[in-house]
């Protein structure tokens, strides 16, 4: 992949880089660029720094909006070739450039961030100069924001890899020079990873390589372009979930040794009163409808993928009245583990398999929305933590099924 670069200040070295991946973010990118520039000056003024926009050849003027944003810190624009899309591809371009510049630290922030302050750059960057290799964000989010994180990415990452990283696909990260090298020499890459699967891929690689991890407390909520999970799922779901399931094969030696999760250190307190996140409107009707439609469309696949007990329990759930709908967490954990098995047992049809999981996810989110309606943010958070514990307690179920698969694979290979 030959990337395009504009480096007006001819920067050849930097101690710290802030990278902003984008696609068609001309309207939004000036704000995070300004804040990144201020943060680098204020907190890393003794170091050489640069801001890099890693873009997908946007046609809306993202490049001009970025380069024309006034900052004292120099800027570089890089882009994938025309037609090559994906956040994962953007970040691989960024990592190659970070390596070339010899930077000790790389901070990544989303291009549509509205609530970023200079302090975010400090909190994501400073731990990298204190022997941490990977910094994940920790911010207050609305209870209905981040539903893929809360219901899939966080519980699966925690129960499989044994680290409690609350925002594993948060979009804003800090990465050390050593970890950048690990990413560039990656062992596992897929079409999903090249897109929105990149965040969970980075977090998982950091854990699996034993890199010291911390969470940076951002103080302010993440305010960006909010999405209604019932309306805007798009391809992100399959890319994130496909990456998680896909990595379970190559990372098996690691996660098979994990029993219970461990906490992750937190950096950056003392930020005063915590701001409340903005409300998230949710289309309950749409969530329930998409779950019910799934029954007609995917019941056959569900029956093939799920263990018979899980399928029977799911059929009970489908018969529940809408007002009293409940999707129990132990069932949800088993379903995700069954799907992980299904993903690995199939060579083709993985797209259909992931598509058939989407209605179940909508059912789970709908159940959460009903349950959390009167919960405070803190109570909703405690519910999510309890759900994670259920995933950890259900792990022996996965281990047993995966073990049987391992034996079957061994028998098959002997047969060949």
């Amino acid at each position: 992949m030959t990337s395009y670069e504009e480096n007006p200040a001819r920067i050849e070295q930097a101690d710290i880089v802030v990278g902003i991946p984008s696609y068609n973010e001309a309207q939004a990118i000036a704000h995070p660029t300004t804040q990144a520039g201020l943060g680098l000056l204020q907190y890393f003024g003794d170091k050489t720094s640069v801001i890099i926009n890693c873009d997908n050849n946007s046609g809306d003027g993202t490049k001009e909006a970025f380069l024309n944003t006034p900052t004292e810190v120099p800027k570089i624009y890089i882009s994938t070739p025309p037609g090559v899309r994906g956040k994962g591809n953007n970040l691989m371009d960024l990592f190659a450039k970070v390596d070339e510049l010899g930077a000790q630290a790389c901070v990544i922030i989303d291009a549509d961030l509205q609530s970023i302050t200079p302090r975010w750059i400090r909190n994501l960057g400073e731990p990298l100069f204190m022997d941490f290799g990977f910094v994940a964000p920790l911010y207050v989010r609305h209870k209905y924001d981040g539903t893929i994180t809360n219901n899939i990415a966080y519980p699966l990452l925690r129960s499989l890899y044994g680290r409690r990283v609350r925002q594993p696909i948060g979009g804003d990260f800090g990465i050390s020079k050593k970890l950048v090298r690990i990413y560039l020499e990656h062992e596992f890459w897929s079409d999903e990873t090249a897109q929105f699967g990149i965040d969970i891929w980075m977090t998982t690689q950091a854990i699996a390589h034993g890199v010291p991890i911390c969470q940076a407390y951002m103080g302010r909520p993440k305010i960006h372009r909010l999405k209604d999970p019932g309306a805007d799922l798009g391809p992100m779901f399959s890319q994130v979930v496909g990456t998680i399931f896909g990595m379970m094969g190559p990372c098996e030696p690691y996660w098979r040794g994990v029993k219970w999760s461990r906490p992750t250190a937190v950096f950056g307190f003392g930020l005063g009163e915590v701001e409340q996140p903005p409300p998230v409107e949710i289309n309950r009707e749409g969530l329930y409808r998409r779950f019910s439609e799934g029954l007609t469309q995917f019941q056959g696949i569900w029956q093939r993928v799920l263990a018979s007990e899980s399928f029977a329990k799911l059929m009970e759930v489908t018969e529940m009245e809408r007002e009293h709908f409940d999707f129990p967490s132990p069932l949800w954990a088993r379903i995700l583990f069954d799907y992980a098995m299904g993903y690995h047992n199939l060579d083709g049809e993985r797209e259909t398999l992931l598509a058939s999981l989407i209605p179940l996810y909508f059912g789970k989110v709908y159940s959460f929305v009903l349950r959390a309606e009167r919960m405070s943010l803190q109570e909703a958070e405690e519910y999510i933590e309890e759900q994670c514990m259920t995933f950890e307690e259900t792990r022996p179920y996965l281990d047993e099924r995966w073990g049987k698969r391992g034996k079957k694979d061994a028998q098959d290979s002997r047969g060949r």
């Binding site: 409690r164 040794g257 219970w260 999760s261 461990r262 906490p263 250190a265 937190v266 307190f269």
Partner: protein, 120 residues
């Protein structure tokens, strides 16, 4: 035999935990205050710490932060008579949060899990 350091300013609690955890097969050391805790950790080299939050001379949540800075991977279980501190974001850095009770089953379960989890 895994070694546990119990940090609590109430003597009856220290004695109770010491006795019960020894019965479970652990070696137990105790400390009555948070002062000099980091040095004590260097000396004792515990495999796990049970840390009270409302110590007479220090705040267990602040101590947890200090422990995490120097001993990144050392399991720490926070113990308190109050549930409310669980909601403090600093408590996230603990392996578990246990509300004090005469029934030590949740504490023992948390100890077992934290020590098993440390294997990775």
């Amino acid at each position: 035999m895994p070694k546990i350091l119990v940090v609590d300013d109430e003597e009856p609690i220290r004695l109770l935990y010491e006795e019960e955890l020894q019965d479970e097969g652990y070696e137990v050391a105790t400390a009555a205050s948070g002062q000099g805790l980091l040095e004590r950790i260097e000396q004792e080299k515990p495999d796990l710490i049970i840390l009270d939050i409302k110590l007479a001379d220090s705040d267990g949540l602040d101590l947890l932060q200090e422990i995490r800075t120097r001993h990144y991977d050392l399991p720490v279980i926070l113990c308190s008579a109050y549930e409310v501190f669980k909601r403090d974001v600093k408590a996230i850095a603990a392996d578990a949060y246990v509300v004090k009770s005469s029934d030590l089953t949740p504490l023992k379960k948390a100890v077992r899990r934290a020590l098993e989890g440390r294997g990775r």
